[in-house]
């Protein structure tokens, strides 16, 4: 469904992604793990069109989307919930969700999406008219994910949804990720919390300084010493 072929991305002179090959099939949860600075967020930025790769191709449903504007990529059905839950702090929860559906115009379908989001996150319904910056960290994360769902994506990209949450809430968020996947959504999950991520995922990729060093079945990666090495170095 989504294919990255030999992607090279630069921040000016810094060579951040050095030839990424990634493949996501319909209905999967794929996780991308790696330590800080490995290039996880850069990968997501490249998929969503925020960053332009210097080399390589991104194919989405066999269509080249390498140099498409971010707005059009959202319209095509790829939606990102950014790192650090960047909600719109001064707008209400409802307005945040409304902005999530910005690229859509069918009112009936948008109403269905509200219902779906409120069903997944009842807490958001309770706090519909509350200003987003007054929500707790976990609620803001729910809002960021809910907002990403409002564009009715086929692929949902999640950038570190567990960042800064208590262990209890991390469990809840991962449960919700599974629920969202059961609704038929394909998910690319970027995480620091490798153990949790590999537990919910079908397949995993391990990223180290801009290269994919290991890929494979998530359950197998869970017991792979090379994953530990990627995080901790050679011990």
């Amino acid at each position: 469904m989504l294919k990255m072929q030999n992607i090279h991305t630069y921040y000016d002179n810094i060579h951040a992604l050095k030839g990424i090959n990634l493949n996501i099939n319909k209905g999967e949860i794929v996780t991308l793990i790696g330590s800080n600075g490995a290039g996880k967020t850069t990968t997501l930025g490249t998929i969503t069109g925020l960053l332009k790769p210097k080399e390589g191709k991104i194919l989405y449903n066999d269509e080249d989307i390498t140099c498409v504007q971010p707005g059009h990529i959202v319209k095509k059905g790829i939606s990102l919930s950014p790192e650090g839950r960047e909600v719109f702090p001064q707008l209400t929860v409802f307005d945040n969700l409304k902005l999530g559906a910005y690229t859509r115009s069918d009112k009936k379908e948008i109403d269905q999406s509200y219902e779906m989001v409120y069903e997944l996150f009842p807490r958001l319904f309770e706090r519909k008219t509350q200003i987003a910056k007054t929500l707790s960290g976990g609620e803001q994360q729910m809002l960021a994910i809910g907002r990403a769902l409002m564009s009715k994506p086929e692929i949902l990209l999640l950038d570190e949804p567990s960042l800064g949450l208590s262990p209890n809430l991390v469990l809840l968020i991962f449960e919700l990720i599974k629920d969202i996947n059961k609704l038929g959504m394909t998910i690319l999950l970027v995480e620091q919390n490798a153990k949790m991520a590999l537990k919910v995922a079908d397949r995993g990729y391990v990223l180290e300084t801009g290269k994919i060093i290991i890929e494979g079945n998530a359950k197998e990666l869970l017991n792979d010493d090379r994953v530990k090495q990627a995080y901790l170095g050679n011990l």
Binding site: P70, K75, L99, T129
Partner: protein
């Protein structure tokens, strides 16, 4: 200091009350409108009417700056430049081609809008403070051009002999209250336009850009285009304000709209409360009437004026009517407390 806090709390409560009670809100708006309409008829001196006219004019300027600064989050400190562009356009069309106010004002809006596009298109592609610096330069460039393009603007002598606005053969002056009613109508139209914009999908996009530009991009909003749209609309409405002023005083020279005017407009927006409409009316009323009320203090009045601004920044930095309501959040009906 405690006392001061208490006072602002009373004010917040009052604003909350009004916001919650829709009937009260509309009644208050109607009442204010009636008072505004009745003002020239109750025997006030023409000086007072002129002050009210200026308040309404600056409310127009404040509202248009608020659209780009308060709602879209892009600071412009050269809005007097757009006033000057609107003023000169309207004045020259009136003097040379005999256009009446309505048509020359529309042309003024168009020219100001085009210049807004020229300034905005290159600078608004970037995020950050580029617009602020570009507009700072723009205001000065406009003034210098007005001063040096003698063949067009009359240089330092300015343009004089501009006719008063005439509507259906009826000349509007300060004495018959016509100018006051004209600016009131303009203020209503501008308010209505801005109210509709911020309530629309476009307005939501503006506010999303203000809150978080990256997240706005991820929602599929073309941030550059919306920032430019907001800036152009703001420039057009500012040009309208400039055109009205020129027809009121019937004269314009390069110093009519200088840097001080830009700062005054920004002060109105900040003092009243960025990103609110009611705050702008209050800000304009306070900042325009302060210097008039303080005339008895003669040369000290600007010290007092500055002091008030400093105190205000200390005790209510988000503006008099700005900031979020301090009322606790009320859950929607049907939800029982006690979870987690």
């Amino acid at each position: 200091m405690k006392k001061e806090n208490k006072k602002t709390n009373i004010m917040d409560n009052f604003v909350d009350q009004i916001n919650q009670n829709k009937k009260l809100k509309y009644a208050l708006i109607c009442l204010l409108l009636c008072v505004a309409i009745a003002l020239p008829k109750i025997g006030l001196s023409s000086f007072i009417i002129r002050v009210f006219t200026m308040i309404a004019l600056y409310a127009i300027l404040g509202l248009s700056l608020n659209l780009i600064t308060g709602y879209t989050g892009q600071v412009s400190i050269g809005h007097a430049g757009f006033c000057a562009i609107g003023g000169y356009t309207s004045a020259l069309l009136n003097v040379h081609f005999g256009m009446t106010f309505i048509f020359s004002a529309i042309c003024a809006m168009i020219v100001a809008g085009i210049l807004g596009l020229l300034i905005g298109a290159p600078t608004l592609r970037l995020s950050g403070t580029y617009l602020t610096i570009a507009t700072l330069g723009f205001g000065e460039i406009v003034r210098m051009m007005a001063l040096n393009w003698d063949w067009l603007t009359g240089g330092a002598l300015g343009v004089s002999g501009i006719t008063r606005p005439v509507i259906f053969g009826f000349e509007l002056t300060t004495f018959n209250g016509g100018l006051y009613y004209l600016v009131l109508v303009l203020l209503l139209l501008v308010s209505l336009a801005i109210y509709m914009i911020i309530r629309s999908k476009m307005g939501r996009a503006f506010m999303a850009i203000r809150d978080d530009e990256l997240a706005a991009t991820l929602m599929g909003i073309n941030t550059t285009r919306y920032k430019i749209t907001s800036f152009v609309i703001s420039a057009m409405l500012t040009g309208l304000g400039g055109a009205f002023y020129v027809h009121m005083v019937r004269f314009i020279d390069p110093n009519t709209f200088n840097f001080d005017i830009s700062i005054l407009i920004i002060s109105i927006v900040i003092l009243g409360g960025m990103g609110t409409m009611k705050g702008i009316y209050l800000g304009a009323a306070l900042l325009i009437s302060f210097p008039e009320c303080l005339r008895f203090a003669s040369e000290y009045r600007f010290i007092i004026y500055g002091l008030i601004l400093v105190l205000m920044m200390r005790f209510k930095p988000e503006g008099i009517l700005g900031g979020q309501s301090k009322k606790p959040y009320k859950m929607p009906s049907g939800i029982e407390g006690d979870y987690q």
